[in-house]
Amino acid sequence: MKMKEFRTELGVFKDLEISIGRIFEETWPEPLGPTPFPSIIALRDWDFKLLKRYKPFYMPFCDVCCFCTMGKCDLTGDKRGACGLTMASQQSRIVLLACCIGAATHIAHARHLVEHLIGLYGRDCPIDVGGTNVEVEAPITRLVCGIRPRTLRDLEDILDYLEGQIVQLLSATHTGQEGSPLDFESKVLHAGMIDHVGMEVADIAQISALGFPKADPEAPLTDIGWGVVDSSKPVILVVGHNVPSAAEIVDYLMDRALYEKIEVAGICCTAHDVARYNPRAKIVGPLSWQARFIRSGLADVIVLDEQCIRADTLLEAQKVRAPLIATSDKNCLGLQNRTGDKAEEIVADLVAGKAPGVLILDPVLVGEVAVRTAMEVAPKRRKFKVLPSTAEVIEGSKACTKCNRCTRSCPNELPIPDALEVAVQGNLSGLAALYEACIGCLRCESACPNRLPIHSYILAASERRMREERFKIRTGRGAIQDNEIRNVGAPIVLGEIPGVIALVGCSNYPHGGREVAEIAEEFLKRRYIVVASGCSAMSVAMKKDEEGRSLYELYPGGFEAGGLVNVGSCIANSHISGAAIKIASIFAKRNLRANYEEIADYILNRVGAVGLAWGAMSQKAAAIASGFWRLGVPVIVGPHGSKYRRMLLGRKDRDEDWYVYDARSGEQVYVGPAPEHLFCTAESKEEAMVMIAKLCIRPNDTPKGRAIKLTHYVDLSKRLYGTIPDDIHLFVRTAADIPITMKEEIQRILEERGWKEKRIPDPTLLPKLVRKGEMGR
């Protein structure tokens, strides 16, 4: 508002200009907490509390820094770079960069989705993620920002804040800015926190506007696997994470009653979300299956959106003569932008092969072009594939000189030369045996001096198996209902439900996705709540019982003991952290609004939740993990996760690290190493399973709950380690904590260790939460 002159009793104002951004309607009785829209240092004290206990352990991936022209600088040992930075600071700086990339990716994704949906449904489109079953519709946003989003318009304001924070965080990584590793780490945690807000914004927007399942424990089952695609029809393959184009393809088919004639199949999170949009869409598999599926020739048109897409997809598509449509301004692939052209012109060019692909930034146009192109191209391509025949594999394998460069380039060091050696004898079983653990990175082919198409050889040897891969997955249900939280809040906080296990992240597995399903099954049988998302949620589906049923068919989809909950795509990870927050808010009735420290302190000390990102690969996964750390939720990664360069490790041998305040008296009380780590690598599936059981232990467990958790920890340890845990004495506080069936055995150990009974406090790391009494030990 501008005024040339404004007269009041106070005086005359000239050239007055008043600017009001947005006024949020105050219909929320909950008082505003201390940290609304926190700056990058607003939660630094909380971060430092975490980092004091869970100190960073760095494993540099590179000995030098090459960020500026004063370098390269050798940072080995205690050397400093030309800018003064140490190796520890450089590593934490790189972790921050990774988390900024991850958070920016989710936030940009959210911005695109919100703008797209506003274009379709208007700014007043209401946020509805579960009707009356979900009153707390955006727990992370409420916690971090202190506002309650009601419409898509409100989400725009949240995104403004998030984008501003990314700029602030990224600027801290410039040469001559932040120098302390701990402050870098605090900013890492901030990046993670805003990443979760960004994911939440994206997912509640698409759930609300696109009619995805709304917190439905019985969200429909759908097909997953390479073999579920009907190859007799034209096939459109959608790959990526951002669903508008895929949704428009489905709409185009539905509007014209064409769905029976065309297959829509997806890879990675777009597959999750298009199946949430319409469960008739089929999910092929995780991101590591891109080259696998494209080379099979089944896809007649390939539609890419964004994130985790192979950069050589255009080349792979050309090999099988499948036109490619790029749909994201973040992934243009050098293609001509045809957004302004008519559909028939684009289709004609693609069908005639005048261009290998096009860029179309209008999802509606993508829908039409993809379908029409698929229908015209399919009869001409006749599923042209580049998988060799058995005879070609045998002949080609003769060119292998056993130089080992393929194995030395393979992330999982697969014994490819040995497999090729037996293939020469006509036996392809060695190549077929590589299929499960192959992550489809194609580095073997790049490394081979004879340019053998090794990945295609593996696929050719496994083609029958691939065709038989058919499973069922429950489509992503989105949020957890408030009532579900009320039902499980007490048993989780008291420890009687032994834990919530979140199987999240990418498919960079050390031995294939089957291990993820095996871990899920183990903890489902033990009546943990198992939550899954993204590629991991797909891998969980790929194991059948004797009757051919997947875990999603065997276990209920509710957030309950023994429930298997597929929340959805990567951005649906926000419902996992959201559930932890809702336990503090709905069950424990802690103030949620802009009250981050208290809620995180509650989760750390009371909510036995653990994340397992067995194949975590990306920067997004790093950001997601760091959002969980700041909330006090530990994360385990597989052995490849050690390449994230930094762990956050507790030291159970240092008693002084494990004291909390008793909120009743202010006394400091030893509570044992619970949880022992915030971020840790497990080198094997067996280690991960024992670690999961241990990391679910929390200071607030009741004796009954602790006994249940120790039962699982001891049982798994005995089975997988062959011994009772050597640190069991650290987790027994009173005799009532000891599992009855293990009493004699554990008591004997306690006596040997000179164990003394300890009291169970009302645990907190925050002095401000002490209700009375003097501080201090």
Binding site: K55, F57, Y58, M59, P60, F61, D63, V64, D74, L75, T76, G77, M87, A88, R405, R408, S409, P411, E413, A447, P510, P639, H640, S642, K643, R645, M647, L649, R651, D653, C680, T681, A682, E683, S684, E686, E687, V690, M691, L720, Y721, G722, T723, D726
Partner: protein, 181 residues
Amino acid sequence: MASAEPWQMAEIPGPRKAIVIPRPEALIALVKRAKRLIFIVGHGASEVSLKEGGTPMDWSIRVSRASGIPILATGHAVKGFIERGFKPGAYMSAVDVANRLIDPGWEGLDGKGQYELAIFIGFHYYLAWNLLSGLKHFSQNIKTLSLDRFYQPHASLSLPNLSVDEWEVYLKALEDALRSG
């Protein structure tokens, strides 16, 4: 086959890289010279068969019994040791071990303080690569020795890339030397 370049082709290290142990005799000499040693044994030690029978885990047990060098098992390797009738000095996750080895105040498994030489065997190449990098940069006085079959540039001392036969020559020579005192 013996060469001293990183086994995984993109794992380019440096400037400081591991000293290559060119012959079994050199291995014997440096192990015998060290005063406080510890074996760090990953679960992979039970997943490789040696031509003379057994696995690197069996070999580590024999060497530990002969020399008194304690074994710290990582991952679920402890199960393999127990199944072989051997109780390792301790077990913990691999990153926990490395995190303790960089702490000059760690008292070790016997309460007598930090170690002089940590000997690694039985790891995924890339996991050991990362662990040894952490130790290279952040440990104070400890030296690391990689006895796996492939050159580990972040160790202080490493075997070169070896065939299984060549590798077994190193392992057997060290075992024989430690048995004879």
